[in-house]
Amino acid sequence: MAEVLLAVAGLTVRYGGIEAVSDWSLILHAGEKVALIGANGAGKSSTLKALAGVVTPAAGKVSFAGVDWQGVPAWKRARAGLTLVPEGRGIFPRMSIEENLLMGVPQNTTSSRETLAPVYERFPRLGERRGQAAGTLSGGEQQLLALGRALLTRPRVLMLDEPSMGLAPKMVEEVFAVIEEMTATGVALLLVEQNARRALKLCPRAVVLESGRTVFSGEAVECLASPQLRAAYLGD
């Protein structure tokens, strides 16, 4: 079995008196792809934010590649190889496309402009408009920019929060194609996605959340075969 990259035990996230994630655990191996499925408010985004370190959990233990991440700030987690593309994409609207991409290049690499070449090759639209403010891009193009930038960070674990939200069907297909390419090279994936059917097609493993707790964890095919889960999350 591959190396355990991310180990989560007893993760609990509270906002005021409301418990968004309750005693949640997960083991993620290198190169593993997991779809995190659940209704609105099930705690999917809160889970990703707590793992990335932008939300402080009330309890629980997170370790990455064997290192305990208690109290480790978000920026150090990102540098260690855990990249979250947040809901809303997290682009810098008044910076150029090129500068947005450069933000993804690790600080200690010097020839940063050459490292952008493969991204421009894969996304010619971004290359053509590299000097333009990122805020002028359409929602789908912004998502591609965010994905391209995440790729530049050379993640070991990639976490995507609703990458297809609000996009036209054609763009959804493109975004999923890009995610598939990105993770083909052995990057582990934790994917939160409203489009459960599409997510389960991409990820061999599924975790279903309900009110901050895991109600199903297993193979995606199993999830697709379960009548209750199909009814609840796939609209059958």
């Binding site: 920026w75 593309v85 810098f92 008044r94 450069l102 933000m103 600080q107």
Partner: protein, 307 residues
């Protein structure tokens, strides 16, 4: 015409100083949405530190240019140190607090710095050492003094360096990213605390230079000198569009020019009902007008951002 051009030169000199100080307000506001009202007092600190250091170094027999350079370096180090302390001890613990708390803290810090300076330097006006920059040139009836040239040239140099740092270096890119979306910046490995501290460091260093300039220009130092200067530089930052670097420079220059022209012509226009001592009223009338008619300032953004 000669009066007009003369006031133009004087106004631009004043405007350079306002611009340097306004940049400090706008840098911190751009990244934290905090009006650091103690910033004007850092200018005072820069002036008094360079005054004392210069006297000390001249006493030691260090030649004037060396003494000025060393005093400037010392004043910059002192202001940066105090700026960092303010950020670390006073503002950072209040980052999640309601906006009013850091604002009141800023006013309190301003008073603390002033009274602290009064304890160290006393409450009298102190003579600034002569920098030997009093000679002047006459161009077609307009007098330009050496100190005016130094202030103009120094400001230009600092602006070039600053704009390069902010727009071309990776540190500056990280600062702008922090200002536009702090969470996204963290998710890309940016130590946002360091970006914020850097805004204070740059602002404080510019304040130290402005302090030396204003002290040398008026040849006087006093513990309250940062108050009015700070308010006016803040006006300049709002006039240009707070949070916008180019706006701070433009606002500073416009304010300096308006003030100088106001001082030169107010008496004539009003048949000496109002004299040049009303020039400060100009600055604040302008602030009020901007806030009423164009609150986003000359170069500020007012369009909502597309997400």
């Amino acid at each position: 015409m000669a009066t007009f051009l003369q006031q133009l030169v004087n106004g631009l000199t004043l405007g350079c100083i306002y611009a340097l100080v306004a940049l400090g307000y706008t840098l911190v506001y751009g990244i934290l949405e905090l009006i650091n009202f103690a910033h004007g007092d850092l200018v005072m600190l820069g002036a008094l530190l360079s005054l004392s250091l210069m006297r000390l170094f001249l006493d030691w027999g260090i030649p004037l240019p060396g003494a000025v350079a060393l005093a400037l370096a010392g004043a910059m180090a002192g202001c940066v140190g105090v700026g960092l302390l303010l950020e670390r001890l006073a503002y950072r613990p209040l980052r999640q607090a309601p906006k009013l708390a850091p604002l009141i803290t800023a006013i309190g810090l301003s008073m603390t710095l002033e009274q602290g300076a009064a304890l160290i330097w006393g409450r009298d006006y102190l003579a600034f050492p002569d920098l030997g920059l009093s000679h002047s040139w006459v161009f077609g009836g307009i007098v330009v003094t050496a100190i005016q040239g130094v202030i103009g040239g120094g400001t230009l140099l600092l602006l070039t360096v600053l704009l390069w740092i902010i727009h071309r270096s990776s540190l500056g890119r990280a600062m702008r990213a922090t200002a536009q979306n702090p969470v996204a910046a963290q998710l890309l490995g940016v130590d946002t605390d360091r970006s914020i501290a850097l805004a204070f460091v740059i602002g404080a260093a510019l304040a130290a230079v402005a302090g030396l300039m204003v002290g040398a220009y008026y040849q006087v130092g006093h513990y309250t000198m940062g108050f009015m200067l700070g308010l006016k530089a803040f006006t300049a930052a709002v006039l240009g569009g707070i949070g916008n670097l180019q706006g701070a420079v433009l606002g500073g220059l416009v304010l300096g020019l308006l003030e100088a022209l106001g001082a030169g012509y107010l008496g004539d226009w009003t048949h000496n009902v109002f004299g040049s001592n009303y020039k400060d009223v100009f600055a604040f009338a302008l602030l009020i007008a901007v806030l009423i008619f164009h609150p986003s300032g000359l170069l500020g953004r007012h369009a909502p951002e597309k997400v």
